[in-house]
Subunit: 311 residues, 2 copies
């Protein structure tokens, strides 16, 4: 049975990736197409089906026993549908049924992209061997997933761990999700760069005003840039502390573009954690950078379908 | 085996209760002593031992197979020690070992009081048959516990679900726990009454200024009293929404003295939830009043030791 493979599909707002993985989590085939995110539902599906068909045409396909999907959320694992915020054409879209048909009727497991990344880092990355883990992606948005008692906890609908949309400011700004004071609205790369610009920061030569350029400015000692990252770090720290207080964590894994800022983010984050994570049982969190990069979602989708995890 | 019993002990800042319970969760014996909360460690233990000895002297003791303890926290289920905030004499106090000795060597399971209440409401109360539940106690403090996938999730140390100490205000006031902007500091009965007094509310006849008296004033239309409960409800709603976003919940059970305010609390809570719980998978939470009252901790401690739950 160790020669069995699984197929994994990672659906994001910019790309749709697919792979075959073996029992060790090694990627044997890898295909990728751009996501036609602004197009009609059937065009987005056609891109997914193209990925599946390229996998079914590969040499390893005969050994594939199941398909795992990690999709931009929200997803609904119970109905097999997805409604990704950044793919407006898909609302309650029956993705599982369509993928099952394209994959010749194999069993299909669906989880959210945050849960997939957590499953991936737990199986093959920075959370290996840890029992209670929050994995976060801090990028243009903020997402995450949870491992509890050594197993992915995707929740009944597959969305658990979605830390970007918990509120850390009771009277904070309205979030596009409909909530208020959400972590994502303060801590994402988009939010960091916006706050810096609103507070007078200007990129060198009027050029790149991204969070990455801002991180360079922070490293060079720009006070506004440093303050922008500090503000993000405080929101992330409050959210991490809340999660640890609620479910008990031993490890927090942080990946995504903003985490590339390194100590510009991690130093104020560690400092801010002391300000929010004060109870004895939440004081000893280990913060680790993610290890799998952009493959985390594929590895995690494979892990989830191997485990048959939905709940 | 259905005639086997368990012993349960509920240790709080004002009372220590004990009981024998059968397999249906019925309380067969019940004893209670005041907690000498300000006395030295051995005096507090003597009160616990008195409770255990009254149980061992009861007719049913020969059928008791295990002992469950729900204690004011923080607790440490892994070391069997407790450090209750409101029992200063006990810090890393080896409670499990002492109770095991007093109970003739029976196995002892320790969880926090919030987890115990959740286990109790899940076994015999308002959360019966629900799979993903947050149980909260809103009283002089704010505590809670989690049931995930149909099982108590007490966490490795037994403290999971401690919702009173998650931050909902990034720049909020310092909390005695060491954190900042904690739910308890805004939403507890103590916090509600203090806020009302600070904002000009005065009890009738200069008398009772408790949260209960304030609830009466709110019911009579006092605007400051209504605003005080609304403020508490918003903090509770943000925290409930955060928990539902992180772990996926179907049900939230709320008990404790402040919940006795009924619609004065529940109406603005329901309204505020719409402001924070906006993602599709967190929109359909059912909020229910607790059913077990002050017995919840005993019933839950019994449930936890029957399940052998620690993680």
């Amino acid at each position: 049975m160790t020669t069995d493979l699984v197929a994994a599909i990672d659906i994001g707002g910019t790309k749709i990736a697919g792979a075959l993985l073996d029992a060790e989590g090694t990627l044997l085939e890898r295909v990728q197409v751009p996501t036609p995110a602004r197009e009609r539902a059937e065009h987005v599906l056609a891109a997914v089906v193209e990925v599946v068909h390229r996998l079914t045409a590969s040499a390893g396909w005969a050994r594939v026993r199941a398909v795992g999907i990690g999709s931009a959320g929200p997803v609904d694992a119970q109905t097999g549908t997805v409604s990704p915020v950044n793919i407006p054409g898909w609302r309650d879209y029956p993705l599982v049924e369509a993928v099952r048909a394209a994959a010749g009727g194999l069993p299909v497991t669906l989880i959210g992209d945050g849960a997939a990344i957590a499953a991936g880092e737990h199986w093959r990355g920075a959370a290996r061997g840890r029992d209670n883990v929050l994995c976060m992606v801090v990028s243009t948005g903020v997402g995450g997933g949870l491992v509890l008692d050594g197993r992915l906890r995707a929740g009944p609908s597959g969305n658990a761990g979605h830390i970007g949309h918990i509120s850390v400011e009771l009277d904070g700004e309205r979030c596009p999700c409909g909530g208020r004071g959400c972590v994502e609205g303060i801590a994402s790369g988009t939010a960091i760069a916006r706050w810096a610009r609103e507070n007078g920061w200007r990129p060198a030569d009027g050029g790149d005003s991204s969070a990455a350029a801002l991180a360079d400015a922070a490293r060079a000692g720009d006070q506004t840039a440093l303050a922008a990252y500090r503000r993000s770090a405080r929101a992330l720290a409050a959210a991490v502390a809340a999660t640890a207080t609620l479910v008990e964590l031993d490890t927090v894994v942080i990946g995504g573009g903003v985490a590339q800022a390194g100590q510009v983010l991690f130093a104020p984050l560690t400092e801010a954690l002391a300000d929010y994570a004060a109870l004895p049982y939440v004081r000893h969190l280990e913060i680790r950078p993610a290890e799998l990069g952009t493959d985390a979602g594929l590895v995690g989708a494979a892990a989830a379908c191997r485990a048959g995890v939905a709940g």
